[in-house]
Symmetry: C2
């Protein structure tokens, strides 16, 4: 099979066979197909898409490019969560120990922040000593002992995805549902999970800006997961404003600690409890989302979620004293307050702009090589719908970059729209997707 012919076939809207997709992907991995052919192929896929069968085949090929972890010897239905990422999205860090505290094992493999969205690994690593680079033996040991483990992708898992993603990132071929789906699902299916809950974000701060695209992506992901025997459900959730109040790595860990200890940050906990409820349900510990939610709330109220978090921190080498006493953490050199210049209501907070402000202060990175300052970040003090008076603090910024703080503050201020009338309420959790279709969110 000639790779040029395969590129042309996809370019002209054809449906590729397993052999043809395999020729492109394996050929790329073994060096017989050069990068310039694969990137042209990916751009052709960007325009012509892949149907469900092609997407499943691509996922399967990427999944089997590395090892597939087998956790069958561990008791329980192993459930993970995947989010398409957002600004202030620290859900995993509360959710994983909370769900584990309900008796559902959570083997979680997460990613790093890039661009305006943060990454769970960067957040966890702001905890002194916390190791996200466990090898597979350690991974298995921690999940067996604690029922929860949170690590980064290892070189053994879906190596094809790592190489493909690096190429997509520099060739304008990231935003493509079949490619996104196979990238996400090949990694998740390799973890050894039995079920998966997806959090597909929509809105200005999300990867999928429109709700229609988010729904289409969810449907594909759910269908692929189901096809591979992993029960998969998805929630479409809003990312038009940052989730919770903290943006920045240690900031967000502190917010998670507070929530795990019972604080209520309404939007953050609504998402966390809903996704957690879905995991508990899939894990066989609840018969409905409502029942799952009650179990999750009880896990927090009883202190078991917090204890589970401390156990995981300890097993992964983290400094338990630091998380028990967050005030002892180093502080940024400078801080600044952003205040409202008028009376009214917070009509909108542009999550994308907040994310970019986070990068300016050192809380995020534009390229994979950049270092992150774990202390740096933003606290959002007024959320959408809040009434504000002129002079009220909208947000605070902290950074060691003394030269950047003023321009960051000015950018952050522009992210807030102050309106005379309160904004219309839009639901945070938009819809629910399972293998039968798209539904209203079960309560």
């Amino acid at each position: 099979m000639n790779p040029t012919e395969i590129i042309r076939k996809k370019r002209d809207g054809g449906t590729l066979s397993r052999d043809e997709i395999n020729r492109m992907i394996q050929g790329y991995l073994d060096g017989s197909i050069p990068e310039y052919q694969l990137s042209a192929f990916l751009m052709a896929v960007y325009f012509q898409k892949m149907n469900f069968e092609e997407t499943t085949i691509l996922t399967d090929i990427m999944l089997h490019s590395g090892i597939v972890i087998n956790l069958k010897d561990l008791p329980g239905i192993k459930v993970d969560k995947h989010s398409t990422g957002g600004v202030g999205d620290k859900v995993s860090i509360i959710l994983a120990p909370m769900v584990a505290a309900c008796g559902v094992p959570v083997p979680m493999i997460s990613g790093r922040g890039l661009g305006h969205t943060g990454g769970t690994l960067d957040k966890l690593e702001s905890i002194p000593g916390f190791r996200t680079t466990l090898n597979l033996e350690e991974y298995r040991k921690v999940i067996a002992e604690a029922g929860v483990v949170m690590i980064g992708q290892t070189a053994e898992i879906a190596p094809a995805d790592k190489r493909l993603y690096a190429l997509r990132d520099v060739t304008g071929t990231v935003e493509c549902i079949p490619l996104i789906s196979s990238s996400i699902m090949s990694k998740k299916l390799a973890e050894g999970i039995d079920a998966l809950v997806l959090d597909i974000k929509t809105g200005r701060g999300a990867f999928m800006a429109t709700e229609a695209d988010a729904v289409r992506l969810s449907e594909t992901l759910v269908a692929v997961g189901t096809m591979f025997g992993v029960r998969t459900i998805g929630f479409i959730t809003d990312m038009s404003q940052p989730l919770g109040r903290a943006v920045g790595n240690w900031n967000e860990i502190v917010e998670c600690i507070e929530c795990l200890r019972g604080a209520d940050v309404p939007d953050l906990m609504e998402v966390t409890l809903t996704l957690g409820a879905g995991m508990v349900m899939l894990g066989g510990k609840a018969g409905s989302i409502a029942e799952g939610k009650a179990l999750c709330k009880e896990a927090i109220a009883s202190g078991r979620a917090w204890e589970k978090f401390l156990q995981m921190v300890r097993l992964q080498g983290g400094d338990v004293a630091a998380v028990e006493n967050p005030a002892s953490y180093p502080r940024s050199a400078v801080s600044m307050e952003v205040r409202s210049s008028s009376d009214g209501f917070v009509g909108a907070i542009d999550a994308l702009e907040v994310g970019f402000t986070g990068i300016m202060v050192g809380a995020g990175r534009m390229t994979v090589e950049e270092r992150i300052d774990p202390k740096a970040g933003i606290m959002v003090m007024k959320k959408v719908g809040d009434r504000v008076k002129k002079g009220d603090i909208l947000a605070t910024l902290g950074t060691d970059r003394t030269g950047s703080i003023s321009s960051a503050a000015s950018r952050l201020e522009k992210a807030f729209s102050i309106t005379a009338a309160p904004p219309e309420h839009t639901p945070l959790i938009r819809s629910f997707v399972d293998s039968t279709g798209v539904h209203p969110v079960p309560r």
Copy 2:
């Protein structure tokens, strides 16, 4: 300027600036932009196209990637012809000396055959000793002395095109009007010509299979030429059956020799005289196509075209005795006749299939590395519209590949459709394109 951003801009349908196009092309040439980014960019251009200004800018950048020959010191309006290529298209070899014999200098830079279409250089090189690789000094000397020269592209001319084309060829990004146009025109504009006649083929054996595409390509080429100050006109001509009777390199030279000596191969001479007339008109020696055609006919009838051909062969190192006595040329080891299995009319001859049969017998190549057998080829004995009886010879094949001749003959037979009724007559020269638009062919 980030190349990924430029790719994304084109991918999303944006119009690129000169700086952005330059960044991609120059970056590719200087190694700062890797092939995998350029190929993704080319595929994005394939889908999103380029507008006329972008096409002009791309042509200009490619043109100035190498030297631009200046022939201003030579008298006369220098005119070249470019054809998009076809099966049996040997027009250049009759036309260049014929037009030069009318007093219009023809500095012609041609290409090689690839796939089912033949190349003028391969045909000329079947003449023993004929050198198509003159350096620029020799090129200038031959055109000054003979008023006609026919060479291949040198490394100094539009090197960007050479590298871009090689990448397009293996990434499925060839069939794209802005890329085709800048490729053709950057080379032609570098030759030092004042005017250009285009032969845009349409039909099964052509690069542009539909007439609508052929017209669109012509319009773009004419507009680009005009923009660069080179008077450019185009003819849309039929390539649904092979042009003339000979397919194969020396075969075609023999047919050219016969035509230059006054033989009439109707379709071949109709195209040759029409294109030649356009060149003579642009060259200022005729006031109309009709007048130009009369001059071209006279150049042949008088023997001046033939003498001009002999002079060019001599100046470019070719064996004049061989062309004066073509029967002395070596013959293929085996030959075979393809006969009609029924009575009727030749309804169609699939030029694409004839071209592929040519490759099977060694007359063409599928990859640039393959060697061509100059002796090998096909003679088409019955053309579209001819009445045939069962057993009549439709075509003959000659090759040294004794093992391939039967399957080649069987493929060639299938290229002929024999119908009960005569086919409808379709005009060979479809339309005429100049800077004012598309017109009926001037008579």
